[in-house]
Every structure is written in C-alpha cells, then in structure tokens.
C-alpha cells in the first residue's frame, strides 16, 4: 500500500479519474435509460459502444487518417471529431435499435421474466462482439493521434491537458443536453411517463413502442459519442473492448442509482476517481477490485444507489 503516492499525486489522479469517469458516465446513460423504462439490464449495450469505436476508426481511415498519419490542423481535427461523433452515434444508435427489435421486442410482447431478457441480451452481446472479432481477425485496430495532449495549466502541481479538458467537458455537455431533453421536452415527458407507469402512459396516448425505440437510440448515440472520446484517448480498439468497460459503466449506473440520469453522471465520475485512487494506493492490478468493493459498500448503506432509482421521478 502506498498512501504516500496517493498524497503526492492526488490532484493528478483525480484529473485522470474524472476523464475516465466521464466516459463511464456517458456509457452508463444507456444502461440507465433502458433500465429506467423497461427494468431490464441491457447487457448488449457494451457492444453498442464497441461498434462505435470501430465505426470511428473506419470513418477516419476513410477520410485518409490511418495509424501513424499526422493530424490535420485544429479545425480539421474538430471536423474529424464531429463527423466521427455523428457517424458513431448513428451507428451505435442503429445497433441498439436492432438489438431492441431482434432480441427484446419479441420477449416484451410475451411479458417474459427479466431473466429471459438477460439471456437474450447476453446472446446479442456475444454475437456482436464475436462477429466483429471474426471480421477483424481479433487483432486490435489503431488510429492516428488526432489530439496531441498539451498541458493547458497546472493546478496544485498536476498538469491538466487539453485532451482531458476536451473529453470531460464534451461529455458533460452531452449529458446536460440529454437531461434537458428528458426533463423539458414533450418527447422527454413521454419517456418519463412510460418509465413511471407504462400502462397509464399508453392510455394517455403515449406510443410505448416509439418511446422504447427512442430510449434505445438515445442511449446508443451517447455510447457512440463516448466511443469517439475513448478512441481519441486510448488510440486503439479491439473486438473485446466493450466487455469490461460495459461492466464498469453498469456499475457506475448502479452506484448512482440505476434509472436516474444524474445518478449515472455522479456514479461514473465517482467510479473513475475512486478506482484511480485505488490504483494509486494498491497498484493498478487492484483497480477493478476497488471499484467493485466500493459498489458493495455503497449498496449496503444505500440499497438503491446514491441518488435513488426511477427515471420518472428524477426531476429534482
């Protein structure tokens, strides 16, 4: 154990953790939206994210930026990122929608118990990840370094780079946008209504199937955006990239209170920061153990997560 290290690098570990946590939070939104409305763990969401990471590399390669290529100027980089966000968001949203249509809707029509949904979701997850694995020969795929991290300012001895700032704030902006969408718009009200009571919502004229499609697309698009940020940060992707990240993001959603959008944000950031502290104190290999231990402890004291569940009631 190395508390000395934690003390010396506290701020820098926090910054690294917040950057990672922002990506967790974006992916966690997908779990939380689906769970809030359908009460079901969308196990295949991790692969929705994975598809996003690959679409990003394909788009960039298609525009002439492969591994080792030099990045264009600032405007060019922003352009590439925006294009990738649109493409990956669309691809991930579409994947999520396909998963819903193929793996969940037939079960929903028969009111199957949640265990059956989980198995179908596992099937979709395995099938997607293995299909991509077979297509890519299970080799990792690299991409160009678009953003070369530059230290923007130092804060209490920790260097904060433009990359970290960019990831954190673009993730935050997207989450705020989604929060406004759910809480302020007509469609968002529909989502909350279905989450609260699907049957009454249906009686009030809300098209339940449309709302469900909407949440899958929204969750998928967020995962696609997260995938672009992840690609910029990590610079490489592989067919199995979703599994562990998905579990972490789901943990983050549960931590904050699954079904609660702001809970996902809080849970994601907290998870990212705490596991980084854990890695600093106990060593990198114990990172996941620290993350899960924290989850157990939090659930013992707050059995429905930090902010409580329920999308319908998350208005405050």
């Amino acid at each position: 154990m190395n508390f000395q290290f934690l003390g010396d690098h506290f701020v820098s570990l926090t910054v690294t953790g917040l950057t990672q946590g922002a990506i967790y939070a974006l992916v966690a939104l997908g779990y939380t939206l689906v769970y809030g409305v359908l009460r079901l763990i969308n196990f295949a969401h991790s692969e929705v994210f994975m598809i996003g990471t690959f679409v990003t590399t394909i788009i960039w390669a298609g525009l002439g930026f492969s591994v080792g290529d030099a990045a264009p100027g600032t405007l060019g980089v922003i352009g590439l990122i925006v294009i990738a966000m649109i493409a990956a968001g669309a691809a991930s949203g579409a994947t999520a929608l396909v998963v819903e249509r193929v793996a969940y809707r037939p079960l929903r029509k028969r009111n199957a118990p949640s265990l059956i949904f989980l198995i179908s979701a596992i099937g979709a997850s395995v099938a997607l990840s293995e299909a991509v694995g077979a297509l890519t020969d299970r080799q990792p795929r690299g991409m160009p370094t678009l953003v070369v991290p530059k230290v923007q300012f130092s804060f209490l001895g920790a260097d904060v780079t433009n990359l970290q700032l960019g990831i954190f704030f673009s993730a935050l902006a997207m989450m705020i946008g989604l929060d406004i969408f759910i809480n302020r718009t007509r469609l968002g009200r529909g989502v909350r209504a279905v989450a609260q009571n699907p049957d009454v919502a249906a009686l009030m004229g809300v098209n339940k199937d449309r709302i469900i499609m909407l949440i899958f697309i929204l969750g998928g698009a967020m995962a696609g955006a997260a995938a672009v940020l992840y690609d910029i940060k990590v610079g490489l992707t592989t067919y199995s990239v979703g599994f562990l990240l998905g579990i972490k993001a789901f943990t983050a959603a549960v931590l904050g209170g699954i079904g609660n959008l702001r809970g996902a944000l809080l849970g994601g950031l907290l998870l990212g920061v705490v596991e980084n502290y854990g890695a600093g104190v106990f060593g990198n290999q114990w990172m996941d153990v620290v993350a899960f231990m924290m989850l157990v402890v939090v659930l013992l004291f707050r059995p429905t997560g930090l902010l409580g569940e329920s999308l319908g009631r998350a208005r405050a």
Binding site: I119, E130, V254, V296
Partner: protein, 376 residues
Amino acid sequence: MSTIMSSLRRADEGRARAMTGLRSRWSSLPRAWRIGAIGAFMVLLYSLPGLNIPLIKTPDTDFTSVLFLCAVYVLVAVGLNVVIGLAGLLDLGYIGFYAVGAYTVAILGSPNSPVVVKFPWIVCVPIAIAVAMLSGVLLGWPTLRLRGDYLAIVTLGFGEIIRVFALNSNITNGNRGINGVPVPSEANWPSWMTWFPYVSSEKQIFSVSNVIGFYWLALTLVVLCILGVRRLERSRVGRSWLAIREDEEAAEVMGVPTFKYKLWAFAIGAALGGLSGALFFSKQTFINAQGFDLFTSILWVAAVVIGGAGNQLGVAVGAILLAYLPERFREFADYRLLIFGVALIVMTIFRPQGLLPSRRRSVELEDRAKEASVVE
C-alpha cells in the same frame, strides 16, 4: 415474417405439449420399469468411455476427457440451478465459488504450494466444500437483502474480485500457478476391473493420461448431488425457495423466513460450485488464474437458463451442450461463440422456458404471456 414466427411458435407449443404427454406417460409406468430404464441409462453413461459410437466421438480431443468436462459442468449447473432455478437469485459470479474450491484443494494438497501441508485429497475436498460454502455465506450475508438486478452486478463483482486475487496474490502463485494438485488416489486399477477397455492394472486409476477413473468419480458425484438436491427440492426448504422465486413479498407475508432460505440456497449452490472446481483441478493437476473469467461464468448462467432453469434434467442437458458441442465441432472454433450468441437469442424467442423446462415454470411463462396479450 410474423406469420412464420407465429406458426413456428405454434409448432413449438405443440412439441411442448407432446413433452408433457411423454412426461405423464413416463410417470404412469410401473415403478419397476422406471427403475429398470434408469438403470439401463446409468449403465450406458458409465460405459460411454469404452463404447465406440462413431458419430458422438470428439475428433481432436480425448473423448473421456470431454465426458469428464461434461460431468463437471453438469455439477456446476446443478449447483447454479439451486441458486437461479429454484430460489430465483441471479448469480453472475458463480465461477468465484468454483475457483475457491479449486484453490483450496491446490493450496492444501499440493507439495508445491506456498503453504505446504500436503493434506490428502479426501481431506482437502471436504475442506474445499466448506470454504466455498463459507464464502457463499460471507457474500450472501450482506448482499442478499438487495433486489434481483443489484444482486446480479454484486455477484459479478465478487467473481472478478476472486479472479484478480488469484492472479495477483502470493498464496495462489498468480499465473505461474500451482502444480501437483492432489489426485484422489495413487493406486493402480484393481485386476478385477481390467475387463473394461482402456483399463489395465499397470495404470493408475486417477492418472493424467487416462481419465476414466476421474470420469466415473465425477459421474458418481453428479448422481449423488442430483439426488440430494432433488430431496431438498421436495422438502420444506425447496417449497420455500419456490415461494421466494414466485413472489418474495408474498412468501415473506406467509411466514417464510426468506432471507434465511435465500442464504441457504446461496450456501448450497456455493458448496456444489466448490466441489466442481475441486474435482476439475484434481484431474488437471495444475491450476493458475486462467479459466476463471467472468465470461465463462456468464456462459454457465446461459446454459442453465437454456437447458430449463428449475429442472435438473434440463440444466444438465444445457451444461452438456455447453461442454460438448465446442469439442465436437472444433473446426468451427473461431465461430463457435458467434453461433452460440445467435442460438441464445433464437432460443429465448422461441423457447424461453428452456429445452427441458420445469413444469411449474413453463406454466408460469404461459400465464405471463396471456397477461401480456390481455394488455395489448
């Protein structure tokens, strides 16, 4: 498209009805006949390693080793079925108990472990079962008060914690592992057994290169465990589990101490998981942190549900398919998980109750489907 689906489904329901027909016909047979048929089936199972049935042989791998793997997976499924199928608790980290049992035997029994006590196998295995059971209670005590989906993620975390611990701790020796895991006995085959193919009195009963002894041991344990769980299922404990599975709050109101029985289900499931781990790694004689990944754990859950959660015969079939098919069709090695994933989706859509469903559960599913059609 939808007409094809519905006609397929109708055909499937027809088959399900035929199954129930077969089942009632079976139970109306005279007792002696039933015992005779089961006896003949058992003889067949025990003699499988010696039989040369061409189509079922595995092309690349030793057939008896595959049979042994099937038996171990059935044991895993029987244990997991107590947790998932009977008590309705979703445990995604069951492999943690398997690992605990396996490592207990390796650490206590191997001359190469960091703790050299060198207990014989017969002492190690009960300890392994007890330690696994204890870990089940320790995990269940704080977490079983959580609702279903939370339990799923917490057990998942438990499985990963055990794996990371196995990988990084000194007592498990990480990926360098521990060899010399004890075998049940060092003795050679007695001469009266040598009529069986591949058995000779110059060979050890439990040898790494001739695993018939291990297979028979595993098969015997499977039979004993299935009978034991069957008795439990039909006792007060089993009825409480079913009540908890169907509706936990109602069970509580009716005076079932739900927490206590959930903990029992967890502990018994963990004990069986520990036994299967101990058994598998006794045959392997070497253990390292490979092979305890969450993915395998999730596949086990899938096998139980696909086979028919709640029905011991069903989960056994699910486990055998999971262990056997990849070995039989090795030429598809690169695509087998892909095929498996697609099969899972197709199965849940067309046969959500599993291949050999528990009678009670399939009725339950039908009820739910009816409810759904009323709402629409």
